[in-house]
Symmetry: C2
């Protein structure tokens, strides 16, 4: 079985690990599966060959023998289902871990995406200065609720799971705004994620791609 994922030829974040291939790399490292990476340029991402694999013209994608997947959450879930280490065996605990995967992408990430969009796509608009605090406060509302639930736990529901992998990855995207550090238990939670050897290997692998000299 050969696993091939796609990643940005050059990530817009310059190697901060915020591009979504890092989530998939991390999952593969947690379960000890080797993988290959096919780098895709921004131009190629919008061309028919890539759109046939990823209808929304994004990265990452995942190919394994005759299976092709897109959408990070689904790829991480597939990896977690096929290999031990990311989902608990007990049925109820497993269902709750999957709940956190969906909560990460459907409840916590949307306001964070709005904050990123407000900066990147609307940062030069006349309303940017007045609107940004509103958007940031919507992120804070979610963070407060998440911080209350996490309390002083190490992970969201017992042992580390794919739910934590997704949630830590989503929270990493809010760190550049400074909002993560307003919630010390969430900042510590993210730091615990980053300290995992599998995360380090995933981070280093994407950093190597994004800091390699230009091919000329």
């Amino acid at each position: 079985m050969t696993i091939t994922i796609t990643a940005f030829e050059r990530s817009p974040d310059g190697g901060m690990g915020l591009a979504r291939d890092t989530r998939v790399r991390w999952a593969l490292e947690e379960v000890g599966q080797p993988y290959e990476v096919r780098l895709v340029s921004f131009r190629a991402m919008k061309e028919p060959a890539h759109l046939a694999v990823h209808p929304f013209g994004q990265i990452p994608t995942y190919e394994e023998d005759d299976l092709t997947l897109f959408e990070t959450g689904a790829i991480v879930f597939h990896i977690a289902e096929c290999h031990a280490g990311l989902l608990p065996d007990d049925a109820n605990t497993r269902a709750r871990a999957i709940t956190w995967m969906f909560a990460a992408v459907n409840t916590v990430e949307p306001p964070i995406l709005e904050l990123v969009t407000a900066k990147i796509l609307e940062g030069d608009k006349p309303w940017a200065k007045e609107r940004m605090p509103l958007v940031a406060d919507r992120v804070r509302d979610r963070m407060k609720q998440l911080a209350a639930r996490l309390g002083n736990g190490d992970w969201l529901d017992g042992a580390f799971s794919a739910g934590d992998l997704m949630m830590v990855s989503v929270l990493l995207r809010v760190r550049p705004s400074g909002i993560l550090d307003e919630f010390p238990n969430l900042a510590a939670y993210v730091a615990r994620g980053e300290a995992r050897p599998a995360y380090r290997r995933a981070f280093d692998a994407q950093l190597a791609v994004n800091t390699r000299p230009p091919i000329s």
Copy 2:
């Protein structure tokens, strides 16, 4: 096994079926599982008893014997995993159906949520008129890509699955803006979803809650 879900005591949409309990009701109807509903007021949703079940103070939640879940996507997935009818048996086809579940909530829904937020929370702001077209165009970008992938298929990947259930539900939220009807194949796809007997039963059940006379 008794299944109990929560729903709004009165949905903000007045019974249009856009509140997320409709997605869970629909899934339960597809697999033929009876369920009970506990209605929750806006005030009660933010109180400790409900926050213990749903850390983000929302609906729906799902209780089944000693299992408690929140987050619509995870609840629909749990129902699909436990009962036949919403996920195909073939492993690869199943993984692709799950991909569409995640694509619905993490790729297609976020710009739609932004559009809803722009109207509800920022409709009275000085930037609303100038900004709205930008937000609507971001929704259209995703819809174009989804329409291209769907083509003239009935469903996203062969037979109807939980991926279609989630995607149709997400697209229903964009219909009030008029944008759905700009994409005839997506509008027809949503209509196919709405025509399913299970959807009708789910819709009617939530409508009955939201049109009952006030208890005084």
